[in-house]
Structure formats: structure tokens, C-alpha cells
Amino acid sequence: MGTLPFIFPFAELEVGQHLYWQVGSLRLHGQVFMTSWIVIGALLTLVVVGTRKMDRDPRGVQNLLEFLWDYIRDLARTQIGEKAYRDWMPFIGTLFLFIFVSNWGGALVPWRLIKLPSGELGAPTADINTTVALALLVSLSYFYAGLSRKGLRYFEYYVHPTPIMLPFKIVEDFTKPLSLSFRLFGNILADELVVAVLVFLVPLVLPIPVMFLGLFTSAIQALIFATLAAYYIGEAVEEHH
């Protein structure tokens, strides 16, 4: 896919173009790393500012952090269960925060003002590499969670109600990361494209509701990803009787 010819400075539409960085024999998508570092930097700044002076009576940013912590704990606890949620809460929370800040950063920050030699800045989650990386991490975590908690008894899960389930459960191990990564990637990329196309067609007013819809979708996608990750881990550590 090439660059479509555009007259508006903000409405340039580039799909599938990347800023390549060559590190040794490795090739990287530079724009993804740049925005992901900004996202990580924003997260770390917020966290460091909020936890610098914590009190029993919360003040300022501590309130926000405690709200986030509570939200993530409830999410992890309802999906994973009372026994194991503590071990997985940081992972679920990091997924949620990273995806959420990435999505909103991609939607809210006017990245197009920064010119790159190739490709364009945007949400890191609009790159398939990022979402597949996150989804594979989720797969690894639920395997690790199940195996570390139940040992080889984890594989009872595959024949749990009846051995007929075995092929379906094996297929599930592949469809889970696939659906996780493509859902997130597709939603975020589609949102960026819809906004870009609308801005190209009608540069005034009309894109604004779609942008709000995009913010909504972005938040929902972060929540869905984190909830499903927690659900998969919960499924793996659950005891069948």
C-alpha cells in the first residue's frame, strides 16, 4: 500500500509504511518504539509522581493511582479468583495501562505534526508486532500460570469435561492469541484509518464524533484485552472437581 496523494497536511494517509531501524542484523519499526517509549515514559512519570509521597489520606495523583489500582485489582480478582490474582495483578495491570495509554495517546496526541522520513507516528498498538507480542505474552503467562500452580495436572484441563474436547482446546491455544492480537490491532488501526479518511473527506466538524467514538473504542479495547488475559489465566489456574 502506498501513500495516497493528499492536499491537507493532517490528512496524509500512510498504511504499512514503517521507519526502519537497523540494529545489527535486526530490523525494527522505529516509529513503534518511539511512541512506545513515550507511552512508557508517561506511565512511569505518572507512577513516580503519584507514589513519591504516599499517605493514609490520599492526595492529588495518589487518588488516581489508587483508583487505577483498585480497578485493576477488581478486574484481576473477578477473572482469576481470590487465590491466584495477587501473582498476576501486575501483569494484567501493565497490559491494561500500556494498551490504554497507547490507544489514547494514539488518538489524542497530534503525531502527524512530527514528520518522519518514512512511516508515521501513532499508537504502538496499531502495529501488528506490538499486539502479537502482547498476545503471545498472554499465552505464555497462562501456560506458566497453569503449569506452576497445578504441574502436569494442568493438562487435565484439555480433557476436562470429556476427552472429546481435546482438539477444541488445542485449537483454542492458537485462536486465543490470534483473536487477542487481531482484535486489538484491527480496532486501533481501523479507528485511525476512519479518522484519517474522514479528515481527508470532510476536514471540519464531522470527524469529531468519530474521534470520540475512537476514544471509547480505545478504552474498551484495553479493557477487553486485560479482561480476556485475566480470564485465560483464571481458566488455567482454576481447579476442576
Partner: protein, 153 residues
Amino acid sequence: MTSLTLLGATEGGLFDFDATLPLMAVQVVLLTFILNSLFFRPVGRVVEEREGYVTTTRAEAKKKLAQVEKLEGELRDQLKGARQAAQKLINDAEQDSDRLYREALALATAEANASREAARREIDSQRESALNQLKIDSEKLGDLIVQRLLAAQ
């Protein structure tokens, strides 16, 4: 790194997998550990400390409330006892005074009766003696009249 391109040319495309994937995974794992030590653990500690504080304070308050209720009950019992004692005292005093009044009244009535009786008796005796005297006098007079009349004839 082999690039797996499903769309577009050999270079670029939507599904352009390369070393971004593993490095991003490593980055996210690192972020998980950093956030765990900078965010989840400290905030969790503060929140759980507060929850503990609230729980213990509540328990203490509940204990104190129970104590207060117990004391209140005791005091109420004491108050009830004191009220009953006071009521009994009042009743006793009322009965006493009533009895004293009755006694005094009975005594006074008896005395009055006695003195009335005595007075009546005295009156009776005086009347009797007066009547006797009158009788004697009248007899004397009658005798005298009879004598005078007899003498005049």
C-alpha cells in the same frame, strides 16, 4: 530477521513482522517488573494498610460501642433500682403518715366520744339530781300548801 509480509511488497506492509515483536515483548515484560515495584506493590501496601487500619478502627469502635451499651444498660438498671427504692420510700412514708393520721384521728374521736359521754353522764346526773331536788322541793311545797290550807280551815 525474516520478514513475513502478507500484504504489500517485500518491504513494509500491514503484517510486517520483524524484531519489533520480541523486543516489544521484552519491553512489556520489563515494564511489568518496573510497574510492579514502582506502582503495584507500593500502592497495594498503602491501600492494604488503610484497609487494615479501617478494619481495626471499626472493630475497636464496635467494641467501645458494645462497652458503652453495656454501661448504659447497667446504669439504666441502677436508675430503675433507685427509682423503685425511692417509690418504695415514698409509699412507706405515705402509709406511715396515713397510719399516724388514722391513729391520731381514732384517738381524738375516742377522746371526744369519751368526753361527750362523760358530759352526757354528768348532765344526766345533774338533771336527775335537779329533778330529785325539784321533786323534794315540790313535795315540800305541796306539804306546805296542804298544811296552810288545812290550817286556814
